[in-house]
Symmetry: C2
């Protein structure tokens, strides 16, 4: 089938709503079940509270498990809270252990404890609860296949056939020694290509790339992307295999990390916020950064205050001071974005650093000249004062050069001292370009004050 | 092995450089070959021009092919340009068809044509050259396995064994009818679990999700992420199978799209730029947006010009006008980031729109009060003028409310009319918050002018 469009999903949702209104619950369920599980979650999330509750009461355990796996974390938790504990335990048993662990982590602690106590497969899930969400341990699943060096291909295939009715066969199998220490990886496709009596030791790749359970998810993603891995084994401090991370988890991590960078660059510190988030959460994630920004803005006001009597004599300066400060800030923001992204993608090398700085200085200078000259000419036609235009052009050249340099230097320096460059750069950089913009422009203007007055 | 660290790669690079300096070329190659192909590319990219050339002349075809596949697109093209055409053709034959097509697309047209003419597997690559880079056709590979409905599991496994020494066995096999139209997909793992005489028709999933060759890569990524697909078949207008996209290509797309959004939000329109890019390219990708920004800044100057005589009477206003404009802009930027991201991740639903707008209005108002009161009190202690503080606080409340609303409305409106919200929002939104900030503050100030003068 062609991938579903938003329109067709809206249509299906309306059909379900109509069926529910008319009390035809089984019809509503039938429509829902014709959809792909991912689409079911989309439709379900759009239904009203009472409609969801009706459906939940009538769906079977496996379908609810699928639904919760596909839903956004927060929505899944809200939905799970509505399910009676006993039934929830059955649903959790049906879910993939890593998904079940994530859901349990998002539930109120008492409900999570009760559900866990009633679960049959609690042992698969419990170890996963020990690791923070954003580490390799929090991403991994405990359902993997570990074989021994002397296992033959025939035995391995036989084993896979046995588990195939209750679990998905993985694309990669791991080989461990008698202490469960990871010693190799076997590609399922190689299993197919060899004779049945070949032992794992002969077809495994002993140079298996792994991470430890505490590794940060950003590093996990970097490793999997760099080495094009579909599955990455996770080991404990003694190199014993404890879980496996699969490529689909990495996609989520990449999206999370991109969201984080985009939000941080715009001074939003809570990555879970979206335009619909409750007001109080929004204020919590945004106000601290607005206060910090305000502080730097007031610092810029203080810089201007030294030129108050000059502005009183030539109020025209108040018209253009922000142009100089603002364009320096825009130039800097361009560089901050490029530098933060280069850091995130591991594309900036120490060797290239000096070259980058030099190029940004030249770029800033040239952008300054190109913007400065055009603004100077434009303002000359507007106000007819050559000195005002000259001061404006020079100040733009100066401040765009400053902006270009700090736009690269600040994120690199923050990264070097271990502060997230995406979150702190914008504020620091704007503080510099505002202050320097006002200072350069008003200092130059003070110098030519008599020629500018009355412009 | 544990994932390699930057430090250990630097060490290996230095060993290679030393070996090359001392003329021990085979030693240098030996060190390079101990590394994972992805790490080799990292090390190679950091070497100097002459060092690279020496290595290239001595590496074997297969190693060069691996190297080019792992390198960044631009660096790979630069490297390939150095290779004599005949040798390059052999390297291209050794590469995956989709990677070879990408590389050919980045080479100077004459060199690409010559290399293609000398290639043995040109037929696998040529069709891929027809599709733009950023479409499904540009992402797909032509090396896939297509079977017929009546093929048995034993025949399929036999076929896979035969191809396994010259190509990688794929995780998913596709089933086509006699017109090569896609009719189903078979998971390699299911092939293992069934009896040898089972036919494909019985184990295939007929509800296979596909895209057409012209589909934009952003949509391709959305589909693969949503449905957790490791491989997505690509069909032509007649539903004939023409290629397959694998999950590793999607990771690159996701990173590209995130880079694009981050750059666009910062008014950088060329996603290939990085801090090291040549000056002229930087200016091309950045200057147009700075000019546009300058235009809106001058519009704001024009707004201020209507209050010039008021500023002449109370120059203190020039100190604080930018605080009002700037904080409105910051609030708006926070909302632009959240809204653009929600659009990109498909997280904004028409149903939730009104709720989002209302919440953002309340949030903006409350942020305005919280910032306004603090700034008002702070400025009172600094300047000791109650009316100045009052005007400042009221203007902040007004402008943060405006900023919050336009920060959601503008990107949504741009998206609705088909303009990239990431690229155009920042400029439009800043134009509004600057103009409204200056206008609200100076209008209020004009009203209380006699009380503010001499502050």
């Amino acid at each position: 089938m062609e991938a579903t469009t938003m329109q067709s999903l809206t249509f299906q949702r309306q059909r379900i709503e109509t069926a529910l209104e008319q009390g035809r619950i089984q019809d509503a369920i039938a429509i829902l079940l014709t959809l792909h599980p991912a689409d079911r979650a989309d439709v379900f999330e759009e239904l009203d509270e009472p409609e969801r509750r009706t459906l939940l009461a009538h769906l079977d355990i496996a379908t609810i498990a699928d639904l919760l796996e596909e839903m956004e974390d927060e929505e899944a938790a809200e939905t799970a809270e509505e399910i009676p504990t006993e039934r929830l335990a059955e649903v959790l048993d049906e879910m993939e252990p890593d998904e079940a662990a994530d859901l349990l982590g998002d539930l109120p602690p008492e409900q999570a404890a009760e559900a866990l106590a009633e679960m049959e497969d609690a042992d698969e899930v419990r170890p996963l609860l020990l690791y923070p969400d954003e580490t390799a341990g929090g991403l991994m699943t405990t359902t993997y296949v570990a074989l021994r060096r002397q296992t033959t291909a025939a035995q391995a295939i036989d084993f896979l056939r046995q588990i195939s009715d209750r679990a998905e066969i993985p694309f990669y199998l791991f080989v461990v020694d008698k202490e469960r220490r990871l010693v190799g990886v076997v590609d399922l496709r190689d299993l197919l290509a060899v004779s049945p009596d070949t032992v794992m030791e002969d077809i495994m790749d002993p140079d298996v790339i792994y991470v430890t359970a505490g590794t940060d998810q950003e590093e996990v993603a970097r490793v999997m992307v760099k080495y094009d891995l579909a599955a990455l084994p996770v080991v404990d401090a003694k190199k014993r295999l404890v879980g496996v991370i699969t490529y689909d988890d990495i996609v989520d991590v990449l999206e999370e990390e991109a969201t984080e960078d985009i939000y941080h660059l715009a001074s939003v510190s809570d990555e879970d916020l979206d335009p619909e988030s409750p007001v109080l959460e929004q204020i919590k994630g945004r106000l601290p950064w607005l206060y910090l920004n305000t502080l730097t803005a007031l610092f810029a006001s203080w810089v201007i205050s030294h030129f108050e009597d000059i502005i009183a004599q030539a109020a025209v300066l108040a018209l253009f001071q922000s142009v100089v400060a603002g364009q320096g800030g825009n130039t800097a923001s361009q560089n901050v974005a490029m530098t933060v992204r280069a850091i995130a993608l591991g594309k900036i090398s120490p060797r290239a650093l000096l070259r980058a700085l030099w190029r940004q200085f030249v770029t800033g200078l040239m952008l300054g000249v190109l913007v400065g000259v055009v603004v100077g000419i434009g303002v000359y036609f507007w106000r007819g004062n050559l000195y005002l235009s000259l001061v404006l052009a020079l100040a733009l050249i100066g401040n765009l050069s400053v902006g270009s340099i700090v736009g690269v230097l600040v994120p690199l320096a923050l990264e070097a001292v271990g502060i997230d460059p995406a979150l702190a750069s914008s504020i620091l950089v704007t503080a510099v370009t505002d202050a320097s913009g006002f200072f350069i422009f008003l200092t130059l203007a003070a110098h030519f004050l008599s020629k500018i007055m009355g412009a």
